[in-house]
Each structure stands twice: as structure tokens, then as C-alpha cells.
Amino acid sequence: MTNRKDTLNNLLVPLLSVVMGFVLGAIIMVIFGYNPIDGYSAMINGAFGSSFYIGETLRQATPLILTALGFSVAYNAGFFNIGVAGQALLGWLCSVWVANIFSDLPGLILLPLSILGGVLAGALWAGIAGFLRAYFNTSEVIVTIMLNYTALYTTNYLIRNVLTDSADATPRISEGASLRAGWLTELTSNSTLHAGIFISLAMAIIVWFLMKKTTSGFEIRTVGLNPSAAEYAGMSSKRTIIISMLISGGLAGLGGVMEGLGNFQNIFTQGAMPTIGFDGMAVALLGLSNPVGIIFSAILFGALKIGGNSMPMISGVPTEVVDIVIASIIFFVGANYLIRYFIDKRARVNKGGVK
């Protein structure tokens, strides 16, 4: 009886978060003396107004889908993998590294090999936290935060000292390792959209299948929802923890591969963690850790970023205000408990009331 209603309520929360974020953004624009209608129309145009912009938006969404999927797998098992960013960075690094080492191999072998390198790097990095959690019951939150920094500085060190001779960026990867596809570039009027979008969409289907249709997914969900019942049912919580963290990190690593082999075609030293990590977590939470929801919310995030670029030029809203608008939307996504609270309260009031 409550089943369908719950689903509706569940959809209502992220939708309201987005709407409230946009409203707050509009208020901020008004306060700073800009016309929010101009601002938002510039944003929408700049995200979906032409095939080029659509291509850019989808390209931006590509890694976010993967990092969000990665976060969601661990989240479903009851773990908060804050290390998505670090795992993505190492995935990026290793994919470029493999592509550069074996640059002479034919593309048919080189591309999968490079991708695999990135996936494995992310998986192993997350696996450390999983292993420590399973066997020593350490908090995966703290371990993955720490591993983020380790990943950041290790990557910078390796770029400067191993991959290059004290340069800040590696050379471009060879054609064979690139995810760029001529027809996609053409179709989207020279946007940077690459074939990685298909990998992302395929992974969304695979993750959905894994979680809903396989015994491992069933175990992951059971451990996440009720670890005691999982133990009672003879599921190995250690195994499940490690498997879910490996999958989570592998997907995050694949997100990084999209940056290395698709977007940038190289890797350069980073001043901070790549944003696809933390944005991916927000995407997963907005998408309710559901693959379909994740695709939509990743596209929304992509649109905010790409469309936001057009706002200063077209409507004169400065970049800083654009960032505040984006941040306010993310804030409401994070504050969905607040929104849920008000929805529940309204529901209670509607149910009650003496006639």
C-alpha cells in the first residue's frame, strides 16, 4: 500500500532539492543585482543550446556517472567511500601511464589494457580501506580520507619523477589509447565528447544488474541494510565488504580513466583532488544511489558546470556567483534530510486533524 507512495516521495526529495537550489541561486543573483531569468536562460542555453554544448555537458557527465556508481555500490553495502576522488585520480594516472608505456601496441589491445590499468589502480586503492575495515574494523571514512591525500601526492611525485623528467604534465597519449571518436566529435560540432559516455552508460546497466540480479549484489544490499541478518544468513561480511570496496574503487578508477584517455589525453600535477570525486558523491546521493537516477543527476551536474561557463559571457553573472548558485544546489542535495523532514511533517498534518 505504501510502496508506490514511498517511491513517489523518494523522487520528490531530489526534485525539490534541485528546485530549491535553483530558487536560492536566483535569490542570490537578485541580491547581487543580476537578473536570474537571464542568468538561468544563459545557463540552459550554454548546457543544451546546441549540439556542441550538449556534447560538452555529456562529456562532463561521463566520469561523474562512474564515480557516482562507484560511490553507490559501497553506499549500498553500508560504507561511505569518501576516497572516490583519490581512487579516480590513481585510475587517471595509471591509465595514462599504461598508455604511454605500451604506446606502440595496436589500439585494439592498448585501449582495453590502459582502461584495465586505471580500473585496477582504483580498485586496489579502495581495496586497502576494505581490507582494513574487514579485518581490523577500522573506519573506512577515515582511511579513505587519508588515502585521498596519499593518492594526490603520490600522483604528483610520480608525474614529476617517474613519468616525466621533472615536467608538470605527461606527453599526450597515442591515438590508439584515446577514447576520442571522430564521428562523435563531428556529430557534436567539435565538442570534447568521447566514447567514454558509452562505457559509462554500459556500466550503469551493469551495476544495476549486479545489484539487483546477482547473488553478490543481494549480499551487498543485505550487508548494507542489516549486517546482523546477513551474518545470520551465512553471508560473509568480510568478503562482502572487500568485494564492494573493490567494485566501488574500480568504478571510481574508471571515472578517472575518462579524464585520462578521454577528456585530457594526459595527466598533469594536481593542486587539489579532482572534482569528479566529490561531485560524484553528490551525484550518487541526488540520484538515490540508483543507476538511472545517477545518469540523470550526472547530466544535471554536467549541465550546471558547462552551462555555468556561459553565464558570465552572456548574462554578465560573474563566475563566483555561478559557483555560489551551483553550490546552493549541491547544498540542498546534501540537505535532503531537511526536505524529507518537511515532507513527512506535511504528510502527518494531512493525515491528522479532527473533523
Binding site: 540480479k213 547473488t215 542489516n226 541478518a229 545470520y232 551465512g234 560473509s236 479532527v354
Partner: protein, 524 residues
């Protein structure tokens, strides 16, 4: 009605959740100084009605009169002000606080900005003497017994000035002796002019203590009867809506080979103290062995050790001639164990998951429910529907979350899952906790059926009725060991009560002969 005033009158109370009417035009009158039982199956609408009275829910229609005045109980604090207090089934106490601190919590009196503990202590002492609620005001709650905790809960409501007390299944956690004491406390309360609503589905308690009883079935009030002229059988039939049998029908047991044998078992509880201390026990095929005992004497640890959920410190557990101590739960399950866990929400079910997934919880990894790691949804559905039908699990459909089923149906789903695997040993821990007579009758007959099919059944329960009714042998557990094994045909509730309190069998029998059973325990 002329002889006494109605302190509470609930008229035509209806509470609708969506299309579902949890309460449908219910009427209830509570007279001053009476103990009024509210009887009904699980999900009949008792809790909804009481939540309305205590301000947690607002009715869709109907009116409530307190002392003749129409009131709008819009929140628990309004209920408080009207003198309505609830003694919850699950105690809401801060374990680390003292009795006094718990009682005054939220009502603290201060002197010069400091907590005035001394006055509070004095007030509490007065209250407790007035009603015979003996407690030590400076003891920490974590160090007192469950019966004491309940007294603290009662004192809490009295301290807040309650004149109308609602007891929600107060005896579910008590020993027989504690129940007797509670009954005399309730009598003392009414003597002082308090009025009591007693929510329960235990008929003998209603007979023992209540003046009148309102029966609720499927959200409707069926009748309000005078308890002294109504038999338990009549009450049960009214509650369930059909004729119910109390005594579980069973033939004499025919025990065969030993299925479970426990030798010298020691198990630690989570604080590191020995909870089971060198225990020995055998359960044979074709018999039900009941473990009686007061909560906290090592029963839960014993069962967790057998089922692989807790580490065994030392000793040997043999199931079907294989040693199983410290094996994984799955290994033990596969060797022929079925387990109806004590805490069905914590262990037995994954509440947010669908009923069909919960039914598949123990066998999902095997054919035909899955193949090569891929779940076969069709087979899972088929399996679930078969068990839902066979075990009469009342649910909207198989994809309903397990958490939205009633307690009785949740338990049926667990029992269906465990029995369907055809285990040679079935462990049932508190299998009927919180369930109504209809569901209890059903579950008991299923346990007996297992026994008659030549399976071994180990039943752990705090309910002596259940133990006496279902078991073929009763093992009494006290402080981590089995202190006596008695024949249910030769023992009595009183004798079991004494054994559970640590009296030896000889002593218990001689005490009963002298007619001193109850008093001696009270002095302890």
C-alpha cells in the same frame, strides 16, 4: 455508569491511514479507579488507539473526553498535562543515569540554578512508598533488574502527575514472581484513585487483574465485558473472531537418535564475562526440549553459540555427528540447522527488503533460486508465493517490504523459510514474543509438526505457558548452566519459577509442599 465517573471517554474514534482504517469507530470508557484491559490481536489497532490517547497521533474523526471535558490531545505534552501517562513496553531509560535522574529527566527541579537532587529523591521515596514501588533511588539503571526498570518507568509517569496510566504489554519481559508483584502494584495504584488501561493479549492476566475489558478486532471495538463473568475462552474467541484452542494438541513424543549434543560449553558475553558456564545438553530427534529461564541467564548466548553467531570459548557442540563449534553460520545451516532467531528484526529479517527476498535469504545462493551467481527472479517469486500460501503469511503481495507486515506474519515468514529447508534441528528462540493467541496457536502447531516429523526442536522462551505447553522436556537455565531438567507433566509454573530463580529442585519441591513458594522468592 451512575456509580462511577468516566475519567476517559473515547467516542467513535476513527483513524485512517490512506485507505486503511486502523481504528474504525472505536468506543472506550475508562472509569475512575478501574483497571481496564484492552485486548486485541497484533495489528488490531490497540497501539493506534493508545497513540491517539497519548497524543502521538491525531484521530481522523471522533472525540475524546477527559473528566467529562472534550479535549484535543494534539501532542504528548498535552496528554501529560491531562494526567495521561504511558508505561512503555520497551523501557525508555538512560542506562548510565541513576533511578532518580531518570525519573526527573525533563522535569528537573533546580535550586539556585543547580539540580536539586535531594528534594527529588525525597519526592520519589514518598511516591514509591505510597504505591509499594520499592526502588533504590541512587542505583544506576544499568545495575537494576528488568522488573525494577519497569517500576522506574511507572514512577516516571507518577512523578509527572499521571492519574491515568497506560501499560503497554507490561508483563512481556517479567518473570512469574515479578508479574505477581506488578499485579499488586497495579492494585495499589487503583486503590489510590489512579485509573489504568492495560494493553495485553495475555488472557490470564486480564482474568487476574482487570475489572473490565474492551476487545478490539480489525480496528473495530467488538465489546466491553465485565471480566469477572467472562471466561478466558470467551475473551479469546471474541478477540480472534473464531474458536481458539489453548492447549496445543500433541501426542506423546517418541525421541530417537541424538541430533544435538552440547558438552561442557563455555561462551562469553560481549563484555567478556562467562555467560554460559560448562553447559551440557542433548536434544534428540522427535522431541521438543524447552529452555526455561529468566532473561539474561545465558540463553541467548547459548543459542548464538550453537548457530555460529558467537564464538565458543571451550567445549563441544555436535550436530548430526559433526562438530560445529566455531563453524560459520552457513556451514552450520547446511549441516541441518533451522533457526528462528530471538530478535526477528535484528537477525531474522531485512526489514526494508521485499518479502520474497527475505524468504530467499537462506537459500538464495543455491539452485534453483540462483545459478552461477545470477539470481533467478522467477524461481524466487515462485518459491516465495508457495511459502506464503503454505504458511498463510498475510501480505499484500510478495514484493511488500518485510517491515510493513504485522509481527505475526513476519514470524510466519521466518518460520516458513526455516522449516522449508527441512532442518534436522530447529531452534526457536522466543518464537511467539509479542504475538497474539491466533498466531501463537499456529506457531506452536508448526513446532509440534516438526517434532512429529522426526526433527529435533529446541525451544527457548521466557513464557512459562509456552514452555509447559510445547516441550517434551524442560531444561531450566540459571546463571549460565542448566540447573534442572524436568518433565512438563510433573512440574508446575511455581516450581519452574523457583528453579529459574536459582532454587535447587529438592528445595523447590519442599518449599512448594510447605506452601511457601512465592514468599521465599520475594525475600530473595
Amino acid at each position: 455508569m451512575a456509580e462511577s465517573v468516566n475519567v476517559i471517554e473515547m467516542k467513535g474514534i476513527t483513524k485512517q491511514f490512506g485507505t486503511f482504517k486502523a481504528n474504525d469507530n472505536i468506543n472506550l470508557q475508562l472509569k475512575k479507579g478501574e483497571i481496564h484491559a484492552l485486548l486485541g490481536e497484533n495489528g488490531a489497532g490497540k497501539s493506534t488507539l493508545m497513540n491517539i490517547l497519548s497524543g502521538l497521533l491525531e484521530p481522523s474523526s471522533g472525540e475524546i473526553l477527559v473528566n467529562g471535558q472534550v479535549v484535543n490531545i494534539s501532542s504528548p505534552s498535552v496528554a501529560n498535562k491531562l494526567g495521561i501517562g504511558m508505561v512503555h513496553q520497551h523501557f525508555m531509560l538512560v542506562k548510565k543515569f541513576t533511578v532518580t535522574e531518570n525519573i526527573i529527566l525533563g522535569m528537573e527541579q533546580t535550586k539556585n540554578g543547580f539540580l536539586d537532587r535531594e528534594t527529588a529523591k525525597k519526592d520519589i521515596k514518598e511516591l514509591s512508598e505510597k504505591y509499594g514501588l520499592l526502588v533504590d533511588p541512587s542505583a544506576k539503571v544499568e545495575s537494576i533488574s528488568i522488573g525494577m526498570e519497569q517500576r522506574v518507568e511507572i514512577l516516571k509517569t507518577l512523578y509527572r502527575g499521571a492519574d491515568i496510566l497506560i501499560f503497554d504489554e507490561p508483563t512481556a519481559v517479567l518473570t512469574p514472581q515479578e508479574i505477581d508483584e506488578l499485579i499488586s502494584i497495579m492494585r495499589a495504584l487503583t486503590k489510590e484513585g489512579k485509573s489504568i488501561i492495560l494493553i495485553t493479549h495475555k488472557l490470564d492476566e486480564i482474568k487476574a487483574v482487570a475489572d473490565r475489558c474492551t476487545v478490539i478486532r480489525r480496528g473495530k471495538s467488538i465489546d466491553t465485558v465485565d471480566v469477572s463473568v467472562t471466561s478466558p475462552q470467551e475473551l479469546a474467541d471474541m478477540m480472534v473472531g473464531r474458536s481458539v484452542s489453548f492447549k496445543t494438541q500433541k501426542k506423546a513424543s517418541q525421541p530417537k537418535e541424538t541430533v544435538l549434543s552440547i558438552e561442557n560449553l563455555t561462551v562469553k558475553e560481549n563484555r567478556g564475562l562467562d555467560a554460559v558456564k560448562g553447559l551440557n545438553l542433548e536434544v534428540r530427534a522427535g522431541e521438543v526440549v524447552g529452555i526455561a529461564g529468566i532473561d539474561g541467564n545465558g540463553q541467548s548466548e547459548l543459542i548464538h553459540a550453537i548457530t555460529g553467531l558467537t564464538k565458543v570459548e571451550s567445549g563441544k557442540i555436535t550436530l548430526n555427528e559433526q562438530e560445529i563449534q566455531n563453524k560459520t553460520p552457513r556451514k552450520i545451516t547446511e549441516l541441518g540447522l533451522g533457526h528462528i532467531p530471538e530478535d526477528r528484526h535484528k537477525y531474522g529479517l531485512v526489514l526494508p527488503m521485499s518479502l520474497e527476498e527475505n524468504i530467499a535469504l537462506q537459500t538464495y545462493y543455491k539452485k534453483p533460486l540462483s545459478k552461477n551467481g545470477i539470481l533467478n527472479q522467477k524461481e524466487i517469486k515462485k518459491f516465495a508465493l508457495k511459502l506464503i500460501e503454505e504458511f498463510d503469511v498475510r501480505t499484500q503481495n510478495e514484493t511488500t517490504p518485510a517491515g510493513s507486515l504485522s509481527g505475526g506474519n513476519q514470524q510466519k515468514a521466518i518460520i516458513a523459510r526455516e522449516i522449508s529447508r527441512d532442518p534436522s534441528l530447529l531452534i526457536a528462540a522466543q518464537p511467539t514474543r509479542g504475538l497474539d493467541v491466533g498466531a501463537i496457536e499456529y506457531i506452536h502447531s508448526r513446532l509440534i509438526e516438526q517434532r512429529d516429523n522426526g526433527k529435533a526442536v529446541l525451544l527457548m522462551s521466557f513464557e512459562l505457558d509456552e514452555i509447559l505447553n510445547v516441550s517434551d522436556r524442560i531444561a531450566v537455565m540459571y546463571e549460565g548452566n542448566i540447573v534442572a531438567i524436568v518433565d512438563p507433566k510433573e512440574t508446575t509454573q511455581q516450581e519452574l519459577g523457583l528453579l529459574m530463580a536459582g532454587t535447587s529442585l529438592e528445595q523447590a519441591r519442599s518449599l512448594i509442599k510447605q506452601g511457601k513458594g512465592k514468599e521465599s522468592v520475594r525475600i530473595d
